[in-house]
């Protein structure tokens, strides 16, 4: 035992001395920095998971990272709040993000494919309009969008949140970048010579090749809609139609002063982030974010 502890540091020292450069140290500092970064990003998530187990009296009295005893009770309170409003908010978020992202991906893929693979009059104009759309802060459009929606009587409906999410200039831009690199023109020509029309070439030749790009656009758009706050906040007035973000915000703003609503907001946040984090971890390897950086090489 004692010989082992004696010999190890000596051997270690000799190893380091033999090397021309202190390589182990060079790899330790980056690891330490990365671990600190990981901790910075994980601590709030761990905190909310721990805090969600606390009853409202424990929340303000016990050490913040000490689990409490109120998890089951908190969950019961959360799903009982306002006749099960929380489950309704979660369902709304899922519908907005799911339906919106699927439709937006299809719309973007078709448009990006046309811009990448066809030469037609007006292509340049369309391309610059889309670039303008990428640079324009979408959120400043929320108020004019609301005014128009209320003119045609759609404000306050599911459509008022869903429809503006279907157009994503950035999604079209990414689809175009991906189509340029993933769909060879020769393969399209070969299919055309075999008698396939343009729709068929798109559906059975180009679309399968574009799937990895489409998954990326879908995930970006899903997270974007799921996290959106201002658009549903402006458009909707019926609490039962709120997505999670607006619902949790109302919970918190009602909760200032009443600690029992604080516990609800905390357990509500914890439950809200679990499915999305799980989805990201599972789908991580399908993400092709090099699309975003790859598009810049031109």
């Amino acid at each position: 035992m004692s010989t082992a502890t004696m010999s190890r540091p000596a051997g270690g020292r000799r190893l380091v001395a033999d090397r021309p450069r202190p390589r182990p140290r060079g790899a330790i500092l980056p690891t330490v920095v990365l671990v600190l970064g990981a901790l910075y990003c994980l601590v709030p998530v761990v905190w909310v998971l721990v805090a969600s187990t606390k009853s409202s009296s424990e929340l303000f009295s016990t050490f913040t990272f000490l689990p409490g005893s109120g998890l089951v009770e908190n969950l019961g309170d959360l799903f009982a709040y306002g006749d099960g409003q929380y489950a309704q908010w979660a369902l709304n978020s899922l519908v907005f993000a799911g339906v919106g992202a699927v439709a937006c991906t299809l719309v973007s893929t078709m448009a990006g494919y046309a811009l990448a693979k066809y030469d037609f009059p007006g292509r340049q104009v369309v391309f610059y309009a889309i670039l303008g759309g990428v640079l324009l802060p979408g959120i400043t459009l929320a108020i004019p969008q609301y005014l128009l929606m209320s003119k045609i009587g759609l404000a306050g409906t599911y459509w008022s949140v869903l429809l503006p999410c279907l157009i994503s200039p950035f999604g079209i831009f990414l689809a175009r970048v991906y189509a340029v690199s993933a769909v060879p023109t020769e393969t399209m020509e070969a299919a055309r010579i075999d008698g396939a029309n343009d729709t068929r070439v798109f559906v059975s030749v180009a679309l399968p090749m574009m799937v990895p790009g489409m998954v990326t656009i879908f995930l970006l758009q899903f997270v974007g809609i799921w996290n959106n706050f201002l658009l549903p906040f402006i458009m909707l007035s019926d609490e039962r139609m709120y997505p999670l973000t607006v619902g949790l915000y109302t919970l918190l703003s009602k909760g200032s002063g009443t600690p029992s609503l604080y516990t609800l907001a905390i357990i509500g946040s914890a439950v809200a982030i679990i499915p999305l984090v799980a989805m990201m971890l599972v789908l991580q390897r399908y993400w092709r974010l090099d699309l975003i950086s790859g598009g810049l090489k031109g």
Partner: protein, 311 residues
């Protein structure tokens, strides 16, 4: 006869269909673009030049909507709240944007180093906040800031020191900016990391043989090569900063220091919905959107990278 005329007519039909095809593929996007981007912009422009005026004069005048020229813009830019809001936005942005990009670049370069342990874990962990909605992120940090639930204060009080209230006083700006940094680092890191991975390894080999340190390689080779990605992430960080709304709004119940007009979008929201002054809100929206566009174009021009160039 028919054998001679058939092929050209078939080719003609095909050609015509091919002519129409790109427009048909663009049709859904085009309709949505016009309905939810182009028309709202035009409508906002129209509203920004309209306003309520007394017509007829005297005690019998009626309030009527008419053209008012640039009055709304003058009103928006002379409102002390807008200038104060822009000032707060600038402080917030000066903290949040360089920190987000700097940390993202640092983490991406470290992940790209050979022989780094736990890189997969760190990459996943740093990316996780991207999945957390801004409102929820604000809630999490808000409770970590709040003196009664803050772990930092819990420790400070146990050792007999006074707790700190970051939500009041000079710490408020770093506190709000920290939420944006936390949410944005991971996504930008992944973009920079993927573009680092796209650089062929033999680019570094020559430098390594010449005895260049990893630091030299990062500074002289890697950073210049990912500069276009850095410009793009910087652009998105900047656009994101100019439209910050959810974070300060969600923090409002926790601190008295965030006013109703803390950032420009909050003022626009108040003008439109609390004060019912749509024209003023429209004018501020147009000005904010134009400002963002101008800043983006200047940034792209300054960096001289054709980041969005046609390939």
């Amino acid at each position: 006869m028919s054998a001679v005329t058939d092929p050209p007519s078939l080719a003609y039909r095909r050609a015509r269909r091919r002519w129409a095809a790109p427009y048909l593929f663009l049709l859904p996007a085009g309709v949505l673009f016009i309905a939810f981007l182009a028309i709202p912009i035009c409508y906002a422009l129209y509203l920004s030049f309209r306003g309520m005026r007394m017509a007829g004069g005297g005690p019998f005048g009626v309030r009527q909507e008419t053209w008012v020229g640039l009055d709304n813009y003058v009103a928006a830019f002379t409102a002390p709240e807008l200038l104060a809001g822009l000032g707060r936005l600038a402080i917030y942005g000066i903290i949040a944007v360089p920190l987000t990009l700097g940390l993202a670049l640092t983490f991406a370069l470290l992940l790209d180093l050979p022989r780094v342990r736990g890189a997969r874990f760190a990459r996943t962990a740093i990316f996780i906040p991207y999945a957390v909605p801004g409102v929820v992120a604000t809630l999490l940090w808000g409770f970590l800031y709040l003196p009664s639930t803050s772990p930092g204060n819990w420790i400070l009080e146990r050792v007999g020191l006074d707790g700190v209230d970051v939500l009041h006083g000079g710490m408020l700006f770093p506190a709000v900016a920290n939420i944006a940094v936390w949410g944005g680092v991971g996504f930008n890191m992944i973009i920079l990391y993927t573009s680092l991975r796209g650089i062929p390894a033999d680019v570094y080999e020559a430098a390594r043989l010449d005895g260049a340190s990893e630091w030299d390689i990062a500074y002289r080779i890697k950073i210049p090569l990912v500069a276009p990605a850095l410009v793009l992430t910087g652009l998105f960080a900047l656009i994101g900063t100019l439209q910050v709304y959810g974070e300060p709004t969600t923090l409002r119940p926790m601190t008295s220091e965030i006013s109703q007009t803390w950032v420009p979008l909050m003022m626009i929201y108040r003008d439109a919905f609390t004060r019912d002054n749509l024209s003023l809100a429209a004018a501020s929206s147009v000005a904010l959107a134009l400002g963002t566009l101008v800043v983006s174009v200047i940034l792209l021009r300054l960096t001289q990278k054709r980041s969005f160039g046609e390939s």
